[in-house]
């Protein structure tokens, strides 16, 4: 099947509505959340309409069906990222997944390989989303471990020149984003992973901005943990993924405790079920897991390689247009190599908030502000940017609309 965004758009009901008095919706905010195809909406609705029951609990047919759907979703996620099924944990979001890891490490007793104490190190980067920064700041504060980070240079790339002094023998955790949600930068993982493993640290990959857009294989990447959110991958909100290597999940203590995650309980104590159940306390987000399975199925039918190629084509197109669009300044890599379809920019004196408002009046949805990466904005010397982020349903026409909108804004605020 050849890739045609116009055919794809027909699967997404939202594109049949209009914006601000009849304008065509130009949705360039998939980095924040993606739109949903009918197939995903149906999967979620069908769960409630036909199969709803608490998974793993009832002795009845509905509970069996619900369990099949929920555990089937786990199989689909596992296959999608090249993992074993018992290594896939469902959470409510990437944010929860990251907090799960950080809190679970905080719970690790002395002698556990995840136990942190003063003298140990946690390493992040300056381009992290707040979701992959604050949990580590907090864990460092609770344990006395030191937080350090790779800096970002003015091209929006990580500065690895001092990698040996940042990832040291004391480093226990390295957590970084695969692709920056602001700059679009795709980080050079190999060098970082090699160094981290050399010193015995685990590597956590925030794949929120990569899993939806390209083929990811956790074993090939040689990472230890990975997180992403369903809602950025044409899936529902309320479902996230936490993947970890089997032997690490076995050693990692639980975070949330309660129903379904236990093996045995007495009035004075409890033992844990093996992973993934150990990390899934309570009745999970079942309909959302069904929706995520449908989302992954949808992406796979189209093909991750085709989606990625399409996004690169549009990104190149916008980068070329932006190069001639003074006073536009791209905040992040200006060339296509090792970058994805998230393009942040400033436009002279027009504040991003005002530019975003103007574009909205033309039906164009972009994100403005610091994009939950405030330290990165400070480092790049821009209080705020405008961000266009692309996905499978975007077209050249969308890119042209954005460029025309920016030019009109220049006249309007001129």
């Amino acid at each position: 099947m050849s890739f045609d965004p116009l055919v794809i758009r027909r699967d997404f009901p939202i594109f049949s509505r209009t914006i601000r008095d009849g304008k065509r919706l130009v949705y360039l905010d998939s980095g924040a959340t993606s739109q949903k195809p009918q197939q995903v909406i149906d999967a979620e609705v069908d769960f409630y309409r036909l199969h709803n029951a608490a998974v793993h609990r009832g002795a009845h047919q509905l509970a069996e069906e619900a369990t099949d759907i929920y555990e089937g979703a786990r199989d689909i996620v596992a296959e999608f990222i090249g993992a074993d099924r018992d290594e896939v944990v469902f959470t409510k979001s990437a944010t929860e997944s990251l907090n799960l890891i950080a809190y679970a490490m905080g719970n690790a007793p002395l002698g556990n390989r995840f136990h942190l104490s003063p003298g140990d190190g946690i390493v992040v980067t300056e381009m992290e989303h707040h979701a992959n920064l604050i949990p580590w700041q907090q864990l460092a504060a609770r344990t006395g471990a030191a937080l350090s980070w790779f800096e970002v240079n003015q091209d929006g790339r990580l500065d690895l020149s001092n990698i040996e002094s940042i990832i040291t023998e004391n480093t226990k955790v390295v957590s970084l984003t695969h692709q920056s949600n602001v700059l679009g930068t795709i980080n050079p993982l190999k060098e970082i992973i090699n160094r981290a493993h050399q010193v015995g640290a685990v590597v956590i990959l925030d794949a929120c901005q990569s899993v939806p857009h390209m083929k990811i294989d956790v074993k090939e990447l040689d990472i230890d943990f990975l997180v992403f959110s369903g809602h950025k991958a044409v899936g529902p909100t309320g479902i996230g993924v936490f993947w970890g290597r089997a032997e690490l999940l076995e050693a990692l203590p639980p975070f949330l405790t309660g129903g379904s995650m236990i093996e045995n309980v007495t009035m004075t104590g409890a033992t844990w079920a093996p992973a993934p159940r150990k990390f899934e306390a309570g009745v999970p987000n079942m309909a959302q897991a069904a929706g995520l399975a449908a989302a992954i199925h949808y992406l796979q039918e189209i093909g991750m390689d085709s989606i990625h190629a399409h996004e690169l084509k549009l990104t190149q197109y916008l980068l070329d247009k932006f190069a001639d669009l003074a006073p536009l300044k791209i905040v992040g890599p200006k060339t296509i190599e090792a970058r994805g379809g998230s393009i942040s920019f400033t436009f002279g004196d027009i504040h991003p908030h005002d530019l975003g408002q103007f574009l909205d009046s033309q039906g164009i949805a972009v994100r403005t502000g610091h994009h939950c990466a405030w330290p990165l904005n400070r480092k790049m010397g821009v209080p705020a940017t405008t961000r266009a982020s692309l996905y499978l349903y975007n077209t050249i026409e969308d890119c042209d609309a954005l460029v025309a909108g920016i030019l009109d804004a220049k006249k309007y605020f001129g």
Binding site: H353, G369, A384
Partner: protein, 149 residues
């Protein structure tokens, strides 16, 4: 474009390009720094009082046309007023911002600030318009308590 013109009134763009009282003074009775955490807009604002009278509202900041013009308009409006008058004006402005587009604002009270009425139809921008006003409220309370202590 009609809708948008409603938001970006001439007065707003004028104040954005030529902000009034945008120069922090060194002898303020109180000075505060307020941030809009959702977008990063910032205002530093100082107040000088003489008894109950507002001698000076001076400020500096970075941000969108709405947050910066609103602060500029407010500073023009409040200098020379009593704290009591300022409270009435601020309350009236807050009500206008919360009116969801149903009010035009009382020009006899709000003067140029009625130009910001259009903001009330854009929920995401109301915080921008209120940034400077909240900073003033904070600074004036601090200045007053310092004076009366």
């Amino acid at each position: 474009m009609m809708q948008l013109d409603n938001l970006y009134q001439e007065v707003i763009l004028d104040h954005y390009k030529n902000p009034q009282n945008k120069k922090l003074e060194s002898d303020n009775d109180a000075q505060v720094h307020h941030i809009n955490p959702s977008c990063g807009d910032e205002v530093t604002l100082g107040v000088k009082l003489e008894g109950e009278k507002i001698l000076s509202v001076n400020w500096d900041g970075v941000g969108c046309s709405i947050s910066q013009s609103s602060t500029s308009i407010m500073s023009d409006l409040l200098i020379g007023k009593s704290l009591e008058e300022a409270a009435v004006i601020s309350e009236s402005f807050l009500q206008l911002m919360q009116s969801k587009g149903s009010q035009d604002g009382d020009e006899t009270v709000l003067e140029d600030a009625v130009a910001l009425a259009g903001v009330s139809k854009y929920p995401a921008r109301i915080k921008c318009a209120l940034l400077g006003w909240m900073a003033f409220k904070d600074a004036s309370v601090q200045a007053l308590s310092k004076k009366t202590n």
